[in-house]
């Protein structure tokens, strides 16, 4: 019976429910074994030294989370800021790359890009402390009440000023301005959580928040683990909970490797990536419809696996540090509706869209029109928020391409966001009207086909490249339906 096999597999893999495993990982040998396994599981993705430091820091944080909370915060702080400063200096984070691109565009030497970027990142520390101090002393100020909006306005003004300086030939000032933008942009998605928490609760210290600004387990633009309030909710409460959390972290790291093996298998399928298929179409030598659809399906699968692999690595390391965080990607193939897909596919990205876009919109706009209110707030989150996050992630293109060209090359992703947000908004609306997806095996297959057909088709517009315009992509998609 398949169900029995599935149960057997589930039970075999449920090492966190076995007392012997839970006891073993609490011993020094168990911690060493966990460290070695985690290092093996992360080495290929992070590089040996980064993986070793990340794993050692997370196990040290885990070892102190119950008995020495202050030391725990200090370890998080050191690992977080150490890794972001070292990563910037050594070029494994993108800030220095963005600055180098700008310097090259201005025909200047790029030798100092890493050093300047590292200094810029180091300055985030005192400036963040200044912000926290302002929030505590003036909890009713605009920045304390509307942190995301305030910081977003700051970013926009900074971009505008930098661009004006650049176009007026004040290159050094423009470089300083753009460097500030590049350094600040990732923190735009972290700082509001800290500000909200500092304003709402008196018991958190600035160092607690500083320690998790782009935490060492995920130095990206998405806050995996959100802010301190969220982390506290998932913090291991006792030795057994910590052991279970760490075992679940190890499992997630290993699962990321299984998914990566699957992704590498997909690489063996002899189909072009979607960009190449569009190029072939534009050059007048299109691939066949079957190959075109295969390319689209395989590209979507690779992209989804990539998101899941990185999410599992980040959350796996955070769990080793003692935080039993929900997974970043949770069985997206089982999505019953588009709303469900949005919730499952990239959980922490969806969370910033909900926290910074959906909730403020929902609480303020169209309060007397429940259906419109729900649709509009969902649209703002999945459409506007999604587009804004992706545009700002590549904000350096505003400096090198100019704002008009940066927006023009983004039109395909804007189109993607509009269609996705409409789909998710309608899906949310249907659910709120009590229209549920059909039950049973046939119903599940139907849901799978509807959701994933939508996702696959939309992937034509969201493959991450800015090389093809919206018109070219629409024509390519039409060609897959035999329309030329």
């Amino acid at each position: 019976m398949p169900a029995t096999e599935s149960d057997w597999l589930r039970q075999t893999l449920a090492i966190e429910t076995r007392k012997s495993c839970v006891s073993f990982i609490q011993t020094p040998f168990g911690q060493l074994a966990a460290g070695a396994l985690a290092l093996l599981a992360t080495n290929d993705y992070l590089g040996f030294w980064e993986a070793a430091i990340g794993v050692a820091a997370s196990l040290a944080a885990g070892a102190t989370i119950l008995r020495a909370p202050k030391l725990h915060v200090l370890i998080l702080f050191t690992a977080t800021w150490g890794s972001v400063l070292a990563g910037t200096a050594l070029g494994s984070l993108d800030t220095a790359d963005h600055l180098a691109e700008l310097l090259q565009y201005m025909n200047r030497t790029t030798n100092e890009a890493s050093l300047l970027s590292t200094v810029g990142v180091a300055l985030v520390l005192p400036l963040t402390l200044l912000l926290f101090s302002k929030v505590r002393s003036a909890p009713h100020s605009f920045i304390a009440r509307r942190p995301f909006l305030s910081l977003l306005l700051f970013e926009i003004v900074l971009c505008f000023v930098s661009f004006i300086l650049q176009t007026n030939g004040m290159e050094v000032a423009a470089i300083v301005g753009w460097l500030t933008v590049f350094v600040f942009t990732p923190y735009l998605w972290f700082l509001p959580y800290a500000v909200i928490d500092l304003r709402a609760r008196g018991d958190s210290m600035p160092l607690d928040h500083l320690a998790i600004q782009r935490p060492f387990w995920s130095p990206t633009y998405v806050p995996f683990g959100k802010g301190l309030a969220f982390l506290r909710k998932y913090r291991a409460a006792d030795a057994e909970a910590l052991a279970v959390t760490q075992l679940k972290g190890l499992k997630l790291l290993l699962w990321a490797n299984v998914l990566n093996a699957l992704r590498e298998l997909l690489e063996l399928i002899p189909v072009p990536v979607i960009g190449e298929a569009i190029d072939a179409f534009l050059s007048g030598h299109p691939v066949s419809i079957v190959i075109g659809w295969s390319a689209l399906v395989v590209s979507t699968a690779r992209f989804c696996l990539q998101v899941a692999i990185w999410a599992h690595l980040f959350i796996g390391i955070a769990r080793l540090a003692g935080y039993r965080l929900p997974r970043g990607s949770w069985r997206p193939l089982e999505s019953r509706t588009l709303m469900d897909y949005f919730n499952r596919f990239h959980y922490y990205f969806k969370e910033i869209l909900v926290d910074f876009f959906f909730t403020p919109t929902f609480f303020r706009i169209f309060k007397r029109h429940p259906k419109l209110r729900m649709f509009f707030a969902t649209f703002i989150a999945a459409g506007v928020g999604n587009a804004l996050w992706h545009f700002l992630r590549d904000v350096h293109l505003v400096a090198t391409l100019g704002p008009v060209q940066a927006i023009r090359t983004f039109e395909s992703y804007l189109f993607y966001c509009t269609i996705l947000a409409t789909g998710i908004g309608l899906s949310q609306l249907r659910l709120s009207l009590g229209i549920k997806p059909p039950e049973g095996t046939a119903g599940r297959i139907r849901s799978f086909l509807i959701v994933w057909s939508f996702v696959v088709v939309l992937h034509v517009f969201s493959d991450g490249s800015r090389a093809h315009g919206l018109g070219d992509r629409i024509n390519f998609l039409a060609s897959l339906f035999g329309v030329s």
């Binding site: 309030a229 709303m339 919730n343 909900v354 909730t359 609480f363 309060k367 429940p370 729900m374 709120s432």
Partner: protein, 81 residues
């Protein structure tokens, strides 16, 4: 007032849970959303119910799931301050 509100809240939550096929009882201090018994969509319907019935203005408070996660938390929220 609180007793009546408690009864109204419990009735609304019971009805919502029943619609989802969840017939298990719930205590006043039991987590509804963080535990996964109710989802985010239900939370927004719940928010609209609290706005309409008790005049709660969520725009003026620091909103997180915890403020509506249990009957006790909601009662604290709607109590006149």
């Amino acid at each position: 007032m609180i007793t009546r509100a408690r009864l109204e809240l419990r009735a609304f939550i019971s009805e919502t849970l029943e619609k989802r096929g969840d017939l298990k009882p719930f205590a006043d201090d039991e987590s509804l959303f963080l535990s996964g018994r109710l989802d985010s969509l239900t939370m927004m319907n719940f928010v609209m119910f609290l706005e309409k019935t008790y005049g709660v203005d969520f725009d003026t408070i620091y909103f997180e799931v915890a403020v509506v996660d249990t009957v006790e938390a909601i009662l604290a929220l709607i109590q006149p301050r």
